[in-house]
Amino acid sequence: MKSGFRLSFWLFLAPVLLWLFLLIVLPHIDLLLLSFRGENDMGDLVWTIDNYKNFFIEPIYWYTFVRTALYAIVTTLCTFVLALPVSFYIVKLARPRTRGFLTVLLLLPFWVSELVRVYGWMILLRESGVLNYFLLKTGLVQQPVEMLYNDVTMIMGLVYTSMLFMVVPLISAMESLDDSLIEAASDLEASRFTILRTIIIPHCKPGITSGAIVVFMLALGNYLTPNLMGGKNSLWFTEQIYNQFIASFNWNQGAAFGFLLLVLSSCIIWVGLKLSRHRLGEVAA
């Protein structure tokens, strides 16, 4: 009986392991090897750590990474601040029927591709766009205002794209929050803000952490939104990887950047978890 169980266990596990190995582990090993290769002055391929050294020596590279990481953190914070009241409204205040409707409404933008979503914003915000048209019509501005191609717009775009990934874990965390806890806090003379700080946020902490990790990784790994909405100054780290692979034909450098992104973003998340005193296992559960 026991050996039968073991056999079927391995039988079912094998495809998963195979899939993991073939599609995830192998290509990464290949990329890792690639990242340690480079040309010497003679144009021959040799083993080297220059690709990694370049990242720290060349200011543009690490500057771009720091910038990308900071903006990803800002995006995560903004998304959280926006998603909290939205999820609270959906879970605690809206009627059951409105609730489903609102959730669908949140989901709706994800039925089209990210490209379409970003172009939608561009149509709205561009100098000759819909918003400017109304501003001019109502006489609020005399000259059309360019609202695209700056960092604020880019962050707004990123927040919009990642909203859902924060709202969903928050909703499921909040659903388990007993209304009477909120009422009890209110009864004990707590203001709304105190209730938020001492009851709701601590209760939703696992949801917040998992939402924050997803949003942070999505923002960090995003390519389209910073590229299209951010405009002139917004060199994103993923764009740099793309440029290395595609424009400069420098796969070795691109692979090194890819691994640096993986390692550095994991470090940031690790620090974040330490700061919020969480373990990754708790979040996943």
Binding site: I60, S128, Y149, L235, Q244, F245, A247, S248, F249, W251
Partner: protein, 352 residues
């Protein structure tokens, strides 16, 4: 018993997929394989055509990743073939015996042969050509007639260009260098790039955005958000059809001329079909259809007679004899330059 049935069914399925109509997989630019021509070709030959749209850099990256497999035909620009071929060996030599030479303008065929020569073999035949220059809205920027317009403070916030290597070269010309002459002098080229970067960073506030998508640029020109842009000639002609004030202008220092080619990937499965397609596309009436549609002239001899009058008018307006003679054709790019250019482009983009 049941197993055998299943097995037979599976075999039949695989056989069916195998004998299913021949296919030709083309890796090309958007618009280079018009639907009408694809249908005509399929009807003539029974070969199914699958086109994948891309650009120079991605074409090379895709073929490099598979070491030249997955496609039967690619259409890179002629200047991006020799160095890539030397390094990654992603193409196979063209068998010029299978090409109908009568269909080509002889001078272009010879030039492409010479430019794509690696170790005694040539790797491409010409398909079409065009130039990069300025698209100018003459109502708002009548004086813009050279690359310097892209650095001119009077068009603040109304300038747009791509952040790609052609722009670096155009800026080199604007600053008085001869970039193509510097191709062989890496040090001199680096100096030029540094100067170009400095200038482009300094004038960054003048630029509205770095465009990435051709249609999006045309929309910005159309709506009057952009007055001067660096772009391809056919885009300017498309806009000219709608608004006479907007037109393509070859810069005084010379438009940058490119030739897009046919090249056959190293591990192409259906080489015969690829040659059939090349000869098909170069037939005068087919090439003329393509030119009328996309406003891009081809290397097809005698296609001109079949091209629509408006398209010819565009061409005559923008390219009088001396302008054509002044076109700066891209020579093959030496391998080292591209890494250098990549760094410079990153630096420009990251600058405040």
């Amino acid at each position: 018993m049941k197993k055998i049935t299943l097995l037979t069914a599976a075999c039949c399925f695989f056989m069916a997929t195998a004998v299913q109509a021949e296919t030709l997989k083309i890796l090309t630019w958007k618009g280079y394989a018009p639907q009408v021509l694809i249908e005509k070709f399929e009807k003539d030959t029974g070969i199914k055509v699958e086109a994948t749209y891309s650009n120079n850099e991605e074409m090379i990256a895709k073929l490099r990743a598979t070491r030249g497999a997955g496609f039967d035909l690619a259409q890179p620009s002629q200047d991006r073939i020799s160095s890539v071929q030397e390094k990654y060996k992603i193409y196979q030599p063209v068998d010029y015996g299978k090409i109908d030479a009568k269909l080509f303008i002889p001078s272009m065929l010879d030039a492409v042969k010479a430019n794509t020569k690696v170790g005694g073999n040539s790797y491409a035949v010409p398909f079409c050509w065009g130039t990069s220059g300025l698209i100018v809205n003459s109502d708002k920027a009548a004086e813009a007639d050279d690359w310097n317009a892209l650095l001119d403070p009077q068009y603040k916030g109304r300038i747009s260009y791509r952040l790609k290597r052609p722009t670096l070269i155009a800026m080199g010309y604007a600053l008085g260098y001869d970039p193509f002459a510097l191709y062989s002098d890496a040090k001199g080229y680096k100096e030029m790039l540094d100067k170009v970067a400095e200038e482009m960073i300094r004038t960054k506030p003048l630029v509205k955005n770095y465009w990435a998508n051709g249609d999006a640029l045309l929309e910005s020109m159309r709506s009057g958000e952009v007055f001067v842009a660096m772009a391809w000639d056919n885009g300017g002609w498309k806009l000219h059809d709608e608004n006479k004030a907007i037109d393509f202008k070859a810069p005084e220092k010379g438009a940058l001329g490119w030739i897009d080619t046919f090249a056959i990937p190293a591990k192409a499965k259906n080489v015969d079909a690829a040659y059939k397609w090349i000869n098909f596309m170069m037939a005068p009436e087919n090439a003329a259809y393509f030119t009328s549609q996309e406003k891009v002239p081809t290397a097809s001899l005698g296609a001109n007679a079949h091209v629509s009058a408006e398209v010819r008018a565009n061409f005559d307006r923008s390219f009088p004899k001396e302008t054509i003679d002044n076109i700066k054709w891209y020579p093959p790019v030496p391998a080292k330059l591209e890494i250098m250019e990549g760094k410079i482009l990153d630096k420009i983009k990251a600058a405040k």
